[in-house]
């Protein structure tokens, strides 16, 4: 299975211990947290393959994210011009796609495949894109052993 690479640009990238932080600007905000535009992608070996997407300017707001291909290997949604424009991407730019994970208190977990987080590593900009795909669930189960 392929794994996601954290945005490769070196600007805005910091490493401390097992954790690597990459600054991501979210111009349009994240639904539920509209005032927060400055975010960080935290790659931490302790929670690999999961990562944190954390507000850099909003206290302790953070979302657990995962490359959706860990759950659905064929996941490859198409992003239209508004999404590419939101992250400042050219049509040929490689993009990082992540899904927001929700872990229930009982340990079960779901991933939002309907509204992925799109990141353009070249511009270091991100957006949560709501796809026009009613076949994709916002609470797609993550099947894991006990």
């Amino acid at each position: 299975m392929s794994t996601v690479e954290a945005p490769a640009a070196t600007a805005g990238r910091e490493q401390s211990g097992s954790e690597e932080r990459t600054r991501i600007l979210v111009r349009d905000g994240i639904p539920g947290f509209p005032g927060l535009h400055d975010w960080e992608l935290l790659v931490d070996a302790e929670i690999d393959p999961l990562m944190w997407f954390a507000a850099a300017d909003g206290g302790d707001t953070r979302l657990l994210v995962l490359d959706p291909r860990h759950v659905e290997p064929s996941y490859a949604p198409k992003f239209g011009p508004p999404a590419l424009e939101a992250v400042g991407a050219a049509p040929d730019d490689p993009l990082v796609v992540l899904g927001v994970v929700n872990v229930e208190p009982d340990g079960s977990a779901t991933i939002n495949l309907r509204a992925p987080l799109l990141i353009c590593p070249r511009t270091m900009r991100g957006a949560q894109v709501i796809l026009d795909r009613s076949d994709l669930s916002m609470r797609h189960p993550i099947e894991v052993g006990g």
């Binding site: 299975m1 349009d28 994240i30 639904p31 539920g32 947290f33 302790e46 929670i47 690999d48 393959p49 999961l50 944190w52 707001t61 953070r62 979302l63 657990l64 860990h70 239209g80 011009p81 508004p82 999404a83 424009e85 939101a86 927001v100 994970v101 929700n102 872990v103 229930e104 208190p105 340990g107 977990a109 939002n112 309907r114 509204a115 949560q128 894109v129 709501i130 916002m138 609470r139 993550i142 894991v144 052993g145 006990g146």
Partner: protein, 83 residues
């Protein structure tokens, strides 16, 4: 909120480049046509609200559950690789 009355076939211009047109009224449903620049995302409000709810729920979970889920995923992946 600005409230205007429009008849089928009539339109509104928003911000100089977005046209919202009443295409048809059928019972309790209004069909709306929107002409907007490519860069403008158009999303049903209720869908946006659902994403807000899902994000807020996800943000309220602690890191303890994250570590547990991650180790279970790594264990599964190791099993898959061994098979």
């Amino acid at each position: 909120m600005l409230v205007l009355s429009r008849k089928p076939g009539q339109a509104l211009l928003v911000g100089g480049e977005i046209v919202v047109k009443v295409v048809e009224i059928r019972g309790q449903q209004v069909r709306i046509g929107i002409d907007a620049p490519d860069s403008v995302a158009i999303v049903r409000q209720e869908l946006h609200d659902q994403v807000e709810d899902a994000n807020r729920a996800a943000a309220s979970r602690g890191s303890k559950n994250a570590s547990r889920l991650a180790s279970r995923m790594r264990r599964d992946e190791r099993k898959e690789n061994q098979e």
